[in-house]
């Protein structure tokens, strides 16, 4: 019996699935997108690191003909909260997720989309909690997206007055005399200062008092049905002290706004956001020096997100970056981008996202989907199987066989072809050799060979990291 080659594998050094030789401009493209494409890499290398970064920072949301065409068939994008509420149903949710996935795959504004995802997790809202539902669609449109590359104070305010957030964290049901602390606590712990940011239980209680009256119009007969309203009858108008700042009585709706201002400018907030952004783009374990450098920019620019991103996405940070594990949505989006699907519908991807527990806006706790390899690595088999749906065909996703085949004329050509289309020539030697062994001596070659080859390549360790 001939032993397979792997039986003789000697114990080897662990390898990181990240090409250490990858150039800084290429790293920028990989880190600021849902999977690089050949065109994007060429563009970045043509205009250079800084120009590419600036181009991405300046690019309008939903740039590109493909995504524009795709979104044209989504009427709910312009619906009022009242209309969204009145059309609350399963199909609306599916259409929203479909558009979200399409934007990740098709939009040219890749860095923008990455930041939308970042804020969606930072100000995480569970679509299916209580009365949240389609108000999350408005939150995405009115809070996350317009401010994704704006000022932190603005997105914080937009989130605080977003009906979806008010419903999700119960502030809509917070009255004077019996304030609900749910939102106040998460505002301090998750949205701004961080759990060890230096606030007390007393601060949580005072912040909760400040936000009483920030609620949602839940009268379905009302013209402002579903919208944020300030209800003075619910507000506690007494004096409050938040983080040592006295808020005089009679402030009404200004109490909450004052709190948001204090929090947006707090040094703990700068550090907390800096650390999260570094984790998102650079490494799961940023150094104190890295955090301080980014936090300083955050403070000196009053939370200008573009300036902060310039401080995060520096050549030195990128060259020192550690491998990051693609979360499932990122993984599937990167497969779709690299394989150049012709997409008329992404909703079928919802099935595979479900199997890997990563449907957008479907994370229960308010802390957002985890940004850690350790959490996601368990569903590797489900990931691989999800890809089989994509490779063999899903409703609305058409595979581009001529592109995937390229000039490959036999099975032995496939490792090289896969290295070109999926890995841009960066496939680690060990994986390349394994593919070569796999296809060696195979004298058949057809459509299924190509599909299976892609299926196998998408399962390789390297395709799961970026």
């Amino acid at each position: 019996m001939a032993l397979p080659s792997w039986a003789f594998a000697q114990p080897k050094q662990d390898y990181a699935p990240y090409p250490s030789a990858r150039k800084v401009t290429d790293r920028l493209v990989h880190r600021t997108s849902y999977g690089a494409t050949r065109e994007q890499l060429d563009r970045a290398n043509q205009i250079g690191f800084q120009a590419y970064l600036e181009e991405q920072l300046a690019m309008a949301p939903d740039s590109g003909a493909e995504i524009q065409t795709y979104l044209a068939g989504k009427p709910w994008r312009n619906w009022s909260l009242s209309q969204l509420r009145q059309n609350e149903n399963w199909d609306l949710f599916i259409s929203f997720i479909d558009a979200t996935m399409a934007r990740k795959v098709l939009s040219n504004s890749q860095l923008f989309e990455r930041m939308v995802e970042f804020w969606s997790d930072h100000f995480s809202i569970h679509y299916f909690r209580d009365a949240v539902g389609s108000s999350k669609i408005a939150d995405d449109r009115d809070a996350s997206r317009p401010n994704a590359l704006g000022y932190f104070g603005d997105i914080l305010f937009a989130s605080a007055s977003s009906p979806a957030m008010l419903l999700y964290l119960d502030n809509a049901f917070s009255w004077a005399g019996a304030p609900n602390q749910n939102y106040a606590r998460e505002l301090l712990e998750l949205h701004t200062m961080g759990v060890n940011g230096g606030y007390t239980q007393q601060d949580v209680e005072e912040v909760a008092r400040c936000f009483t009256g920030w609620t949602v119009d839940l009268d379905s007969q009302s013209a402002s049905y579903g919208e944020y309203i300030y209800n003075p009858d619910m507000h506690d108008d007494g004096e409050k002290v938040v983080l040592g700042v006295t808020i005089p009585p009679g402030g009404g709706v200004n109490d909450g706004e004052t709190v948001l201002q204090i929090l947006a400018n707090h040094p703990s907030t700068a550090k907390f956001i800096a650390k999260k952004l570094l984790r998102f783009f650079i490494t799961e374990r940023p150094t104190t020096a890295q955090i301080n450098a980014v936090a300083a920019v955050f403070q000196s620019t009053q939370g200008n997100i573009k300036q902060v991103l310039r401080a995060v996405l520096t050549p030195s940070n990128l060259m020192a970056s550690a491998p990051k594990y693609k979360r499932p949505m990122h993984y599937y989006a990167s497969a779709a981008r690299a394989m150049k699907f012709t997409a008329t519908k992404f909703e079928s991807v919802l099935g595979v996202l479900w199997e890997t527990n990563h449907i957008p806006f479907n994370w229960g706790p308010p802390n957002g989907y985890p940004d850690a390899a350790g959490y996601w690595a368990n569903s590797i088999v489900q990931r691989m199987n999800g890809c089989s749906w994509m490779v063999y065909g899903m409703e609305g996703l058409d595979i581009n066989l001529p592109y995937l085949t390229g000039n490959a004329a036999n099975s032995q050509h496939m490792p090289g072809q896969l290295n070109r289309t999926l890995f841009f020539g960066e496939l680690p030697t060990s994986e390349y050799r394994s593919l070569s062994d796999h296809f060696a001596g195979r004298d058949w070659f057809n459509e299924w060979t190509v599909k299976e080859a892609y299926l196998l390549a998408l399962s390789l360790p390297s395709f799961h990291w970026y």
Partner: protein, 461 residues
Amino acid sequence: MQRQGCNEYRSLDKLLSGEFGKARPELEIPHVEDHADVVSRRGFMTALRHSGMAAVRPEWLPLVQMSPSYVSQRDVVLCIFMRGGTDGLSMCVPFGDSDYYRFRPTLAVPRPDSGDSRRCADLDGFFGLPPAMMPLLEAWTNGHLTFIQATGLMNTNRSHFDSMNFMESGKANDLTLATGWLGRHLLSSAPMTDGAMTRGLALSNSVPKSMSGGDRVTGVSNIANFGLPGSPEEQVQRQSMLGDLYSRMIDPAKTAALSSLRTIDLLKQINFANYQPAGGAVYTPDDDFAYAMKSSAALIKAQIGVEAIHVDIGDWDTHSEQGVHDGHLFQRMQVLSKGLQAFYRDMFAAGAPNLTVVVMSEFGRNIRENGSRGTDHGYGGCMMLMGAGIVGKKIHGNWPGLHEDQQFEEQDLKITVDYRDILSEIVSRRLGNGGNLGSIFPDFSPTFRGVVKPITGQSLA
């Protein structure tokens, strides 16, 4: 305050059932079905050993040594979660409380002495087993089944989402706790079997909240075809190649991938396709819950190191036309009790196994039936335990009564036993991890209610 009712849950149910989106391609995707070719690995391992190459054995290959006889000081735990909020008053009928009949004019199960053909069976003179649950009477009679009444998660708002979330996390009102009680139990205890490849298995697409954060946990929707995609004839080759590559990968991807790949091999060894239930057990064909119970029995009997299993059974959200006598709820209780009966016969055929089954739901339902012959989201509910180590032939708990002045918020059954009291006692007395209760159920001091006996070394099979 306006709440959206249960629509969100019905949507979730749709998600859970996986009935959306995924269009089946015309070409059937190959699955791992025939394991005949895999058997040769044993021969291969022998060859390796004889050739002196065992030292270079790929580290992703299975580690578990199957032993024909097996003695444990701990129970395997099987957790069944009834999603949707089960009506505990229909499942464990308080016929001794006359208010039950006052508040449930059409939905009450008649008294055992009523002569009505829809009557319940008397369990202890106060509670009864409804006709739909009759398949469980033999386990009750043998002292292997019990209920805990008026239990649940305190301080909730009747939201499915919050209640499931907090109940599974093991801590009320902490939205930031991402791991579950069962996961933390596995994380804080040594494996029941040395070198176990998979300790916790959820028979669903993903690891549920209760098990998340656990040591070596995996979600497997169907143990008969958990495998890599692609053509069947190349399965072994593909898995070898990926195993080899992942074994050289950095952690956590390495450990997680190897654990999943080993689980594939682990499940192949069970030969589930040819599994023969014992004790004349009949698992209802084409029934998801029965299939999950059959899978559980096969997993436990195979003794491959799986010590915690999670199974979901949904559709308990009976807001209208509840149908306790012959309708929807009757069918759900039939599915549950028939599946449990088959599992009971299968597992107990060779004696008393080291096994505890926990059946729970996120909350009970309103005491009063509503205008559409259903019941809305409530508070206190019931739990069910099955096993040789339970204290049987009695209903546990502290019945608070159903009268207006005994209700919770003027509408619901009170909770007199925190559900964590029950789980803590099981973790401590049956799973041998009482020393870590503080981290399994944070900020909670349990009161043991005497629902299970301390474990003694028993043979599993």
